[in-house]
């Protein structure tokens, strides 16, 4: 029998605080409304370099790939 947890972890009772990853205007709009928000200055991993992305995956997945 699953325990009774508040649906979606009680989000509706919490103050909304946002981490914005991507388009800056979304966080500008939230700031304007006084909503606590942190904008993430996101870049593509490894600057988009596929070779480095592959090396990173290899290390993170913890297996020899070839």
């Amino acid at each position: 029998m699953a325990e009774r947890r508040p649906p979606i972890s009680g989000l509706f009772d919490q103050p909304i605080q946002v981490i914005n990853v991507g388009v800056p205007s979304f966080s500008d709009d939230l700031k304007r409304q006084g909503v606590p928000v942190r904008h993430v200055d996101w870049r593509p991993p490894a600057g988009g370099n596929k070779r480095i992305q592959a090396l990173l995956r290899r290390i993170k997945n913890g297996e020899k790939t070839s």
Partner: protein, 508 residues
């Protein structure tokens, strides 16, 4: 033909910023072609195609910024590059100028804002799933604005979210209002007791705005992404959201908006909804309302009806109509069609669909780039014919362009070309206000209408549906006046505008 180019190593801007900047540059006199973009293979290919790939730019990597200009004179080219610098430095300043350090990772952001409970993700599709995963793993809810996320990833993310008792809204979720906070493209809507779950962005914007205009309010507006009710996803997030609203003390009425779900999902969904103690209003766009009503739910006929029914269930009274049928007919009687065809330029896909559906029986033949059942697909989406109702936000039109709700330039081009077509007797648009949308879409639309009139002075019936509330950042009344002063009939809902179209077309 003076060609100038510049490469800025290790300088990143998001695609929306770059596209908007490119637009500005193209307006400079003497500029034939201007490109500002990241050094991705795609952009380098485009530059090659346009003959703008100088040797300096050939080695650009995806983390480098490339600028290329083709102008009539050397002067114009130099000025254009300088203007590009200015535009981008303003943008950089705006993002970092508040003296707040913008961290490079979610983990960094969480350190600065430990109480963060939602992560809003709008990075390119290739990377969006891993960002969403990161957010869920750190115990935070996700609003996944990005599209081009695979359905397998969507399933994995939503399953993970349910296990962790979290919301995973999206992918392709453009609108949400949580605890009264508008997120991404959303309107400032009064708080109340109607909870909305939607698989559609503009549908959610229209319904929540109408609920507000009818005097009621919204407890929560949750987007679940366009594919949630597909067979593969099985409505996981819709169910999660509905259960949450059922449990929520503030919510008295639940509204569900979506394209018709897959068969199996439909039954699973109805199975759960049957046990929900609160009244549920269902609008499955284009679905037959009868079987839904037979099961005891209120089935809406259209978006305005969904809002109206929800308000009725919330207050116990029928809300007063926004615009009566008589008032609509009265407006229609003031005009005459001088050419046979309707051209509709929508920025919201659901509004486009709704218009097609309601108008098909009346207009008999309708063309679109996103035709609903019974309508025709345009052989060339850039070439309208007969009655044409377009979704300018569809992928076909947004490749290399920002979405029409942010960037009016493509719609402005279309207004000019449709107006110039002697077939066009009636031209209509949607103007969607709210956070995220353009600050003065009415002004942009009116400017191109005025230019169109100058080029082809003939009477075309003009109408707009203005979606939003008086609390939206754009000043609803001002937007309405701007349109009306230019001779555009303004309507508070898509449905009322469509009724106007029917009326004009019938006595036209």
């Amino acid at each position: 033909m003076p060609l100038l180019s510049q490469l800025k190593k290790d300088t990143y801007f998001d695609s929306v910023t770059l596209m908007l900047a490119t637009n500005e540059l193209k307006k400079i006199r003497g500029v034939h072609q201007a490109v500002i973009g990241m050094g991705t293979d795609y952009n380098l290919e485009s530059l090659k195609r346009l003959g703008l790939l100088s040797p300096e730019l050939a080695d650009a990597t995806p983390s480098d910024l490339i600028l290329a200009v083709d102008a009539a004179t050397e002067e114009a080219a130099v000025m254009t590059l300088r203007e590009a610098e200015r535009l981008l430095s303003v943008k950089k300043g705006a993002a970092s100028g508040t003296a707040d350090y913008a961290p490079a990772t979610q983990a960094g952001a969480a350190k600065a804002l430990p109480g963060a409970n939602i992560v809003l993700i709008s990075v390119p599709g290739d990377y969006a799933a891993s960002e969403a995963r990161r957010a869920l793993d750190s115990g935070r809810h996700v609003m996944l604005f990005s599209d081009n996320v695979s359905i397998d990833d969507e399933l994995e993310l939503k399953t993970r979210a349910v296990e962790k008792n979290l919301l995973m809204m999206g992918p392709d979720c453009g609108t949400a209002i949580l605890n009264g906070v508008p997120l991404a493209f959303a309107n400032a809507v009064r708080k109340g007791d109607i909870g909305v779950v939607a698989a559609s962005g503009t549908g959610l914007q229209e319904v929540t705005s109408l609920i507000h205009r009818m005097g009621c309010g919204v407890s929560q507006a949750i987007g679940v992404g366009g594919r949630d009710l597909s067979e593969k996803i099985g409505g996981i997030m819709t169910l999660q959201a509905v259960r949450a609203l059922e449990d929520d003390r503030q919510t008295k009425v639940i509204v569900l908006l979506s394209k018709p779900p897959a068969e199996k999902t439909f039954h699973a969904l109805l199975g759960v909804l049957k046990d929900v103690k609160k009244p549920v209003v269902i609008y499955f766009i284009g679905a037959d309302p009868v079987p839904i009503e037979r099961l005891g739910f209120a089935a809406a006929q259209n978006l305005e009806d969904a809002a109206r029914t929800a308000c009725r269930l919330s207050t116990g009274r029928q809300p007063s109509p926004l615009l009566s049928d008589e008032e609509i007919a009265e407006k229609a009687s003031k005009v005459r069609l001088t050419a046979p065809s309707l051209r509709a330029l929508y920025s919201g896909g659901t509004l486009c669909d709704e218009a097609q559906r309601i108008l098909l029986p009346r207009l008999k033949t309708i063309h679109s780039n996103t035709p609903v059942a019974g309508c025709e697909k345009l052989p060339n989406v850039y070439q309208s014919r007969g009655h044409t109702i377009l979704d300018l936000g569809d992928d076909e039109f947004t490749r290399g362009r920002a979405h029409p709700m942010i960037d009016p330039s493509f719609r402005q081009e279309k207004i000019l070309s449709e107006y110039a077509d002697p077939e066009t007797g009636m031209l209509v648009v949607d103007v969607v206000l709210g956070y995220g949308s353009h600050p003065d879409m009415a002004g942009a639309v009116v400017r191109s209408i005025e230019e169109a009139r100058e080029r082809s002075p003939r009477p075309v019936v003009l109408a707009a549906t203005l979606c939003g509330t008086e609390d939206d950042p754009q000043d609803y009344e001002k937007q309405r006046r701007t349109l009306e002063d230019a001779g555009v009939f303004v309507f508070p809902s898509n449905v009322s505008m469509v009724k106007f179209i029917v009326s004009v077309m019938s006595h036209g």
